[in-house]
Structures are given as structure tokens and as C-alpha cells.
């Protein structure tokens, strides 16, 4: 992508990330949060993260990748470390180290 199209993309992304931050906060500083909305919202982040993780781990170049896929082992490792430490930095470093070491075997 050229610099101009990246710049355009950045401004559109600004809109996409500012609006969900701004309006609910403005709106709900005056009113109560409706129950159905917060109930549904509870399931949105985890669904999205799972979709992204599964796509990254199980698909390579439009194909299902299972045999000899080191990312699956790394995924379980990172999950355990993330759950134990609750640290983003340690989780990311573990992930990088795991993929690096496992792909050397």
C-alpha cells in the first residue's frame, strides 16, 4: 500500500476506534446502560479474539493446517502462561520464544 492510502486508512481507523469509545461513554454518563446491550457485549470480545487466534493458528495459506503445526503447541503454552501470569508482555515473549524454539526441532 502507498503512503497516501495508508494515511487514508489511518484516518478511517481513527473513526472506527474513536466512535465506540466516545458515544457510549457520553451517552451513559447521563443514563443507565441497557441490560441487553451489556449482556451481548460480554460475548463480543472473546468471540473476536477466538476467531482471530484460530485463524492464525489453524490456517496457513487458505488451508487447514494440523499435522506438524508448532503454533498449536505454542497456543496452549501461551494460554497457560497468560492465565497464570496475567501479563501481556510475558505472554507475548513466551509465544515468540515457543514458536522460535519449536520450529528449530
Amino acid at each position: 500500500m502507498s503512503d497516501t492510502s495508508l494515511l487514508l486508512l489511518i484516518f478511517c481507523l481513527f473513526g472506527a476506534s474513536y466512535l465506540p469509545r466516545l458515544f457510549p461513554m457520553l451517552y451513559f454518563s447521563q443514563r443507565q446502560v441497557p441490560q441487553w446491550f451489556s449482556d451481548w457485549m460480554k460475548y463480543v470480545p472473546i468471540s473476536l479474539f477466538a476467531a482471530l487466534v484460530f485463524k492464525d493458528v489453524f490456517i496457513s495459506e487458505n488451508h487447514f493446517d494440523l499435522i506438524g503445526n508448532v503454533r498449536i503447541i505454542a497456543m496452549f503454552l501461551v494460554s497457560g502462561v497468560a492465565y497464570k501470569t496475567r501479563s501481556m508482555a510475558i505472554s507475548v515473549i513466551t509465544g515468540l520464544a515457543a514458536v522460535f524454539l519449536l520450529s528449530m526441532i
Binding site: V44, A50, L96
Partner: protein, 251 residues
Amino acid sequence: MPVKKRTPWLEALYAALPLCLSYIPVGLACGMLLQKAGFNILLTALLSMLVFSGGAQFLVVSMISVHASFVSTILMVFFLELRYALLGSSLSQFFKKEKRSFIALFSQSMNDENYAVNYLKYSTDPEWNRKKALYVNWFSMASWTGSTVLGTIFGSVIHVDTELVHFALTAMFIFMFMMQLSNGLLLATGLLSGGLAVIFMLVFKNTFGLILATLLASFTGYLIERIRKTANTKDDGPDHYDLTGGEVHHE
């Protein structure tokens, strides 16, 4: 050290420091990936300040690398950032007396991590105020922007294995997944979404599959919760009042 003597910005720095430090390795990795995706230092800095979301910025890299369309990239980021609707509305209880202009300024730099710091501070520290809260946001943004810019510089001078560094993003999403995980229904919803995402990606070969999987799974999770709630109120006699969580009421 006497806590009262500290100036607001120093107190905010103290609260934000662990967060600022943890941004460094993640920001470096994100900056390197952005550099590989075609971002220069200026564009990286702009993205980090305007979007200021690790998840979204990693997502942008991943969408660019699979040549996703403009609309698809923006929609994916929008769905990812929808969680801020929840964070923002939960933090809004402390802003009942604040001006709209302050909320407009504050929400721009709010993200998952500084939300957590500010929420904790507002609910435990009676001295916590809008000034300190805003400082926390800005310190974390400065640390994030600095780290991603450094990553972009490193990315252009040293060779990095893109496929390896790409897993930094996967690891970050795994981390965020684990942080959301608080009961069995959430886990089931996540696994459903992951499974659907793989199927849709294989069938449609398009990143819209991820959006579809997210919508279907989150809606299913929400529906199951509703059905459980109505089943609880219908079936439970007055002596079942202790059944509150999803955990207790498994089939």
C-alpha cells in the same frame, strides 16, 4: 514517601508505570510488523496515537498481509473496538459530573489497560480525579507510541523473521482471550467462534468470515444466557435462590 506531597502527574506516572513498561516489548514487536507492512515512522506514530490499541494495530498488520479490502479492515477494527463501548459505559459512572468536552478528550486515549488502572483507582482511591486519570491515559499512550516507533526503526535496520514476529500478535490475542475467560459459557462461545472462523475462512477465503463468526458466536452466547436466565426464573422454587452463576447451573 508521603503520598500527599506528590503532584498529580507523578502520582499518575506511578500508577501507570507497570503498564508503560509492559507496552515496550509488545510495542516493539508491533512496530516491526508495521514496518514490514509498509508503515514509516511518521505513519506508525500517527496510527499509535489515533488508534492507540495494540489489538487493533496488530489486526491492521494481519489484514494488510492477507490483502484484505479497505472496508473489511475497517469493519474488523470497528468490531474489535466495540469492546470499548463496554469499557466506556462502565467507566462513565465516574464521569457523571464531567463536561462533554472532557469525555471527548478522555475517551480518545482510553484503552483496555489504562481503563483497568483508572477503574481500579476510581473505585479504591477517593483522591483520584479526572486530571490524574487523563495523565494515566497519556503516559500509556506515550510509552506505546514510543515503543512502536522504535520497533519501526529496528524493523528497517535489522532483519526479523516476519512469520516469527507475526506470532506476537497471535500471542497477544490469546492473552486477551484468556483475560476475558471467566466462566464456562464464555469459553464455549469462544470455541464456537474459533471453529466457525476456521470453517468460514476455508469456505469464503475472505476475512468477512471472521466478522460473521464473531457475530454468530456472540449472539449465541447471549441467547444461551437469556434462555438460562428465563429457565432459572421459571423452574427455580424459592429454595433455589442460591443459583446465580452459569457455573452452578450446568446441564
